[in-house]
């Protein structure tokens, strides 16, 4: 690979590596506070590798949630990965040995990096070997950058998780309340999502059902029924919600 490819990949990854390091350190700390050493954090960050869900998983582990709750929450929370994958089915298939690695390492942020390069290249859809002269980046260069960015981001996530765990061990007193960073992360994501759409009914249904079932069933067991009720309601209300979503239909 050319030096410029490494450089572009690194510059593109840098802001994400910074925020990954920060968030995953918080994750390592939260795990440590819950009684799981940095080795558990590393294992989870290596195998699961998703931001928000890892925090939820940490609380599931310490509260002893059922495997079914873990599995369904994982499927629900990571369902967006499915749609990220759709955009890059062709690209990843042309990446040979890197193909499985690319599938395993797609996150919200690396998806954003990959998309940013789609818009800067005038791609000829029939040109898969990167021969197109109009492209600023050849398809090969672009795919090299995607691969390196995936490695950079994932490494910083794992390093942060370990650092956070070690930091938690070094600090003698328990930091009461550090786990609130998960709540804060979710609140910011919810607000960003709220801003990006005019259709707020899904979020309202989510919040409403969540609250209702929390008070009906109780804190320990409401998650699973809430997720099922929400997706059921959203399917029933499809005819009402879909036309009001806005005009950006593909």
């Amino acid at each position: 690979m050319e030096k410029s490819t490494w450089k572009t990949a690194f510059t593109k990854s840098l802001p994400i590596m910074g925020s990954y390091l920060f968030v995953s350190m918080a994750y390592g700390l939260v795990m440590q506070e819950a009684g799981y050493s940095y080795l558990w954090s590393l294992l989870t960050s290596f195998t699961v590798y998703t931001g928000a869900f890892q925090f939820v998983l940490a609380t599931f582990l310490s509260s002893g949630a059922s495997i079914l709750t873990v599995a369904l929450t994982a499927l629900f929370m990571n369902s967006r990965q499915f749609f990220y994958g759709l955009t890059f089915v062709d690209d990843f298939r042309h990446m040979g040995k890197r193909y499985p690695y690319m599938i395993c390492t797609m996150t919200d942020e690396t998806y954003a990096i990959n998309c940013s390069m789609l818009s800067t290249t005038e791609r000829d859809p029939h040109d898969t070997e990167g021969k197109s002269l109009t492209s600023k980046l050849s398809d090969k260069q672009r795919r090299d950058i995607m691969f390196l960015a995936a490695i950079f981001c994932r490494s910083s996530w794992m390093i942060g998780a370990v650092l956070g765990g070690i930091l938690g061990q070094l600090i003698p007193i328990q930091i009461e309340g550090i786990d609130f960073c998960m709540t804060a992360l979710f609140v910011t994501i919810l607000i960003d999502q709220w801003r990006s759409t005019k259709m707020h009914l899904p979020a309202l249904i989510g919040g409403g059902c969540g609250l209702l079932l929390l008070f009906l069933i109780g804190a320990d067991r409401f998650m699973l029924p809430a997720l099922i009720l929400v997706s059921g309601l959203l399917l029933i209300l499809q005819k009402k919600i879909e036309p009001e979503e806005g005009t950006n239909h593909e």
Binding site: S19, F22, Y36, L43, T44, T47, V48, T50, A52, F53, L57, F60, L61, S62, A65, I67, V70, A74, L75, F76, M77, N78, S79, Q81, F82, F83, G85, V89, R93, C104, E176, G177, I178, F180, T183, A184, F186, T188, L190, I191, D192, Q193, W194, P202, L204, I205, G206, G207, C209, G210, L214, A219, M223, A226, V230, S231, L234, Q238, E242, E245
Partner: protein
């Protein structure tokens, strides 16, 4: 959870996550058309789920409202306020977590 259950839970989580990541490349890989209902759910589920998760995070309001519950509500309100105002994720998380930790010394 004991170590064995923890390991199983993490591996189950990993497999479910991988399933979601790999699905477009396997099942629907050949025919590119994704059913309309699934596309619809994909667009609207994320914000609905995130709202459920925020409720999950403040679940202590039912069991310990005057202690942990009220701290969480205040800190969530601060976080939302700061984020609407400054639109800076890192700032919102740092400040509101700081507020929450500080509150835990005030409201016991």
């Amino acid at each position: 959870m004991n170590e064995k259950m923890t390991l199983i839970a993490i591996l189950v989580a990993a497999v479910c996550t991988l399933l979601m990541r790999a699905l477009p490349f396997t099942l629907l890989g050949r025919k590119r058309e994704v059913p309309k209902k699934i596309r619809y759910l994909g667009r609207i589920l994320p914000s609905a789920i995130m709202a459920v998760l925020v409720i999950y995070c403040v679940r202590d309001i039912t069991t310990d409202f005057s202690g942990k519950g009220i701290r969480e509500i205040i800190a969530v309100a601060c976080c939302a306020g700061i984020h609407i105002w400054r639109k800076n994720t890192l700032l919102s998380i740092l400040v509101s977590t700081g507020i929450y930790i500080a509150l835990s010394y005030i409201i016991v």
